[in-house]
Amino acid sequence: MNSFPGSSLILSSVFVLCGVLTAGGALVAVLSRRVIRSVSGLALSSVGLAGLYYFLHSPFVALMEILIYIGAVCVTIVFAVMLAEPDEPPPDEPQPGARLKTAGALLVSAAVGAAVAWVGLRAPWPGPTRTGDGSIQSLGVSLLSTYCLAFELISVVLCLAILGALVLARHGRRPPEP
């Protein structure tokens, strides 16, 4: 396992890099004013998350994270940015409650995050009692046997979402004048 010198150090540094990418991308996504930078932050965060999923022995989910989040979600948001130019305007006059609102949002989110982290770190998680190996083969078998109904329902939901998005986005377009 440790044939290459310093491989554990390299692994740990790659892990730290993935964590920093995830957290930093999330911060960029939330804090930047331009929407296109937010989308880039979301993509960056997804890359880091895919690395973390790989460390969690789920390579298929890591692949799907890149494929769906970066390839589909971010590209769709970029299309919407192109069509709707949704940038936040710079505040004309400093609004009186803006700073207070930011402080309140920071306080609430920090409180929720700290509470969740505290619960996660303090809870006595049980040790692993393995019954399966979590390979891609067992994933496919359980998708088509145990979770077959949920799988089909997800496909119905996706089909309905496509139809709904088409109907919503089509509404209000004028037909071309003859």
Partner: protein
Amino acid sequence: MNPLQDTLAPYLLLAAALLAAGIFGLLQRRTLIGLLIAGELILSGASLNILALNRFTAPDPAAGQVFVLFIMGLAAAEVTVALGLVLAVYRHYRSALTRTLTDLKG
């Protein structure tokens, strides 16, 4: 001493950080697409939490992976519908700021 990537705590801390960033974005952003991106961050935090507990404590590791795949499918569907709504709102109001959406009458 396990290496860092084989312990549960850093994953849970990162998931909590993603949740906090998403809630901050939901409270702070003023555009519809910004709110959507913050919601995606919250869903990512939930996925990371599920996969971490799935790796370290769950009996059958396939269950959590299937669950996260379903979360991704639902997130994609949500983004599709929400962006259709954003486009419809932008055509109607010529703006995608949350402040301008004040009347209920179409």
